[in-house]
Amino acid sequence: MAESVLIPKSNSQPVKVKQGQSFWPTLGRWSFILPLLIINLIIVIIPSVFGLLLAFTDWSGYGPINFIGLDNFSKLFQDAIFFKSLSNNLIWTALFLTVPIAVGLLGAYMLSGIKRGQILFRVIFFLPYVFASVVNTQIWRQILHPRVGIGPILADYGIPFLDFPIFGTRETALFAVAFVDGWHFWGFLVILYLAAMTAVDAELYEVARLDGASRFQQFRFVTLPSIRPTLVFTILMITIWSSLVFDYVFIMTGGGPANSSEVMGTYLYQNAFQRFDVGYAASVGVMMSLWVMLAVAGFVYLRRRGWDI
């Protein structure tokens, strides 16, 4: 019996090719993806491997690179700020897996029920997503400004709950930044969920209505199961993106006050560009990559368990 090897196919199902089959047609197929592989090698694989190796060095960003074994990781596991950053990333993930998804689902479901003006609302909801983070942060910095923002204005009318430096208070800084980032992000989810909901077979709703299902029951038993692949995909992406969060935190609080809004991304930046400890920063980066790999592994595991995602 001839031995066989596996080669990838576009639908990700392996195809068995018998050994002894002509070499040239196989090479011809590979040559089509060769440019992509080369680009991938140059801009993804080599920098990734280099970044991984740097985590075992004391490189400052310039000059000689000395390998120091696991010293960076040993330091990392005793670093209270790193663990604070990690826990903030976890809080961030929990926030983004709940609030924007819930609001996005609600927005999409409500929009799916209207015929006139849907495009207008889609544009309005999506608009913050296309604005640069610098623009969004400046808008909200002014809205929530402790002197000229809505806080002091509301306080004048006897509603004082926002009349304090919301980005300058340890207890609220991370949540305030997450709110601004979530505000810009939820419209993106609305568009994704709306597209998925549009594809749901209308007959399913009709049958549910005939069975006496309420709007909520239609949503719970028809819409949600039908858009599950999209929902799980957004959960996966949010989990990955939450480990990489940087821009909104960096611009609005810089990780402060007193590291209260520090996340792994800002801590990495601080070590690489302020302390000139690129090796240590790379070890933080490795931890971020581990997070992403865990998320992807979970996704793959669920697929192998037969989840339709």
Partner: protein
């Protein structure tokens, strides 16, 4: 080959290679600078005169957002500019260690830069006996205040800590914050106040001793200085109206607060001259400045903290180091030109630490600014100098100093732990040879 073809070929050859030959005769020197500069003014006052005086060199000054990061990235890519601008002398050490900076001692000796520059400023660029950088601008910390508010209340600029305290308490009694300042958008602003409290309470002599390794940062005078700052920041709210507001206020807020009497004073560097006219111009109040008084009765006189705001060096990988040196020499050889450029920033930027004479200042220079530079020259000439963290601290120690102080203010870290951590980072930097040069006191 007929004559017509020969003519065409000759013409093409002349056009192609003639142009190339003449282009090669001009050496381009690139200099990346901060993005807040008025590039049109800089081109008119520096670039065009230099290029006119040096036909074989073409100087190009290019503003960059996040200059330090842009330079670092460019170094990694092998395309850094010929003239390196860094945020301060603390930053040049890493580049020097990596062999990326051109040594300037021989050029400086030949061109007489040591005679032209203020001695401490010249010395701040020497690492391991070799000159690697020269300050582009020098600064000091001062006390700016709302002069109109002071006059209406019969207050005068404080010369002792007791006077400062009396004004602070009187201001607070009227609902006015003693100081307006904050770190929103620039977390290292923390170090401005930490440095002032270290120098003005523990004393510059002690700071110098700690910088040179003769004292420990854990010594009681430093602990008392940091505790005094912590109390002012977190207990009595001298800075804005709460610790939280410190993190919410930035450049615009702090100036608005001072010019609208929300606050009475501001501890700030001389770069503050840049904002004074702009913000007070929108009110009927006037501003003024004073030296920061000593915070301890053990210190009889005020001094001025020394600081280089930015430094200039020549890229060690530059193909044209001599041309880059010619640019630096053009700048350092003309005090009047320097002051003309600096006047565009109300003397808050581009104040190259040259030995200025009174006549170098353009006519009509603001009396308050001229008074500062005259007093700074006289006082520092007597050796009454302090030390700013961003000039004389190693980068890692500097970051620890301005970062962990927030934990001290919030009571999450004791003063003792903060200073012990600081000493530990210093020990590491000293062992690595990463301590910036400290001018002999």
């Amino acid at each position: 080959m007929n004559r017509k073809t020969l003519f065409v070929l000759l013409t093409l050859f002349t056009l192609l290679f003639g142009g190339t030959i003449s282009a090669q005769e001009v050496t381009t020197v690139t200099w990346w600078t901060e993005d807040y500069v008025d590039i049109d003014a800089l081109n008119a006052l520096l670039v065009e005169p230099f290029n006119a005086a040096n036909p074989s060199i073409k100087l190009e000054v290019i503003p960059q957002t996040s200059l330090d990061e842009a330079v670092r990235t460019a170094f990694a890519a092998g395309s850094a500019p010929d003239i390196l601008q860094t945020p301060g002398a603390s930053f040049i050490g890493e580049f020097v260690d990596a062999g990326l900076v051109y040594p300037l001692s021989s050029a400086a000796a030949e061109l007489g830069w040591q005679e032209k520059l203020l001695p401490w400023a010249y010395e701040s660029g020497i690492l391991n006996g070799e000159l690697y950088s020269i300050p582009l601008t020098f600064e000091s910390m001062i006390l700016m205040y709302n002069k109109t508010l002071f006059e209406e209340n019969g207050w005068t600029a404080p010369t002792t800590f007791e006077e400062l305290q009396a004004i602070a308490e009187a201001a607070q009694a009227q609902g006015i914050n003693p100081f307006g300042y904050g770190n929103s958008g620039f977390q290292p602003a923390n170090e401005h106040v930490v440095g002032v409290y270290l120098n003005n309470y523990a004393g510059a002599e002690n700071v110098y001793a700690a910088l040179t390794g003769e004292k420990s940062w854990t010594d009681p005078e430093f602990a008392e200085a940091i505790e005094l700052l912590r109390g002012h920041m977190a207990d009595v709210n001298w800075f804005n109206d709460s610790l939280e507001t410190w993190f919410a206020y930035g450049w615009n807020e702090q100036w608005t607060a001072l010019s609208t009497r929300e606050s009475a004073m501001m501890i700030i560097g001389t770069w503050g001259f840049r904002g004074a006219d702009e913000f007070f111009g929108e009110t009927t109040d006037e501003w003024d400045w004073a030296p920061i008084p000593p915070f301890s009765s053990n210190l009889p006189e005020y001094n001025y903290m020394l600081a280089t705001g930015s430094t200039l060096s020549v890229n060690g990988q530059s193909a044209n180091p001599e041309a880059a040196i010619a640019v630096l020499d053009f700048l350092y050889s003309d005090p009047a030109r320097v002051l003309q450029i600096a006047s565009g920033y109300n003397y808050g930027e581009f104040v190259v630490p040259l030995k200025f004479a009174a006549e170098d200042f353009p006519e009509g220079t603001d009396e308050r600014i001229a008074r500062f530079y005259a007093d700074f020259g006289a006082v520092t000439a007597e050796g009454r100098v302090g030390y700013t963290t961003w000039t004389f601290w190693p980068a890692d120690a500097d970051v620890q100093l301005w970062q962990e102080i927030e934990n001290v203010w919030y009571g999450e870290m004791t003063v003792e732990t903060y200073l012990a951590n600081h000493q530990a980072v210093w020990d590491e930097a000293r062992a690595d040879g990463a301590v910036p040069p400290i001018p002999t006191r």
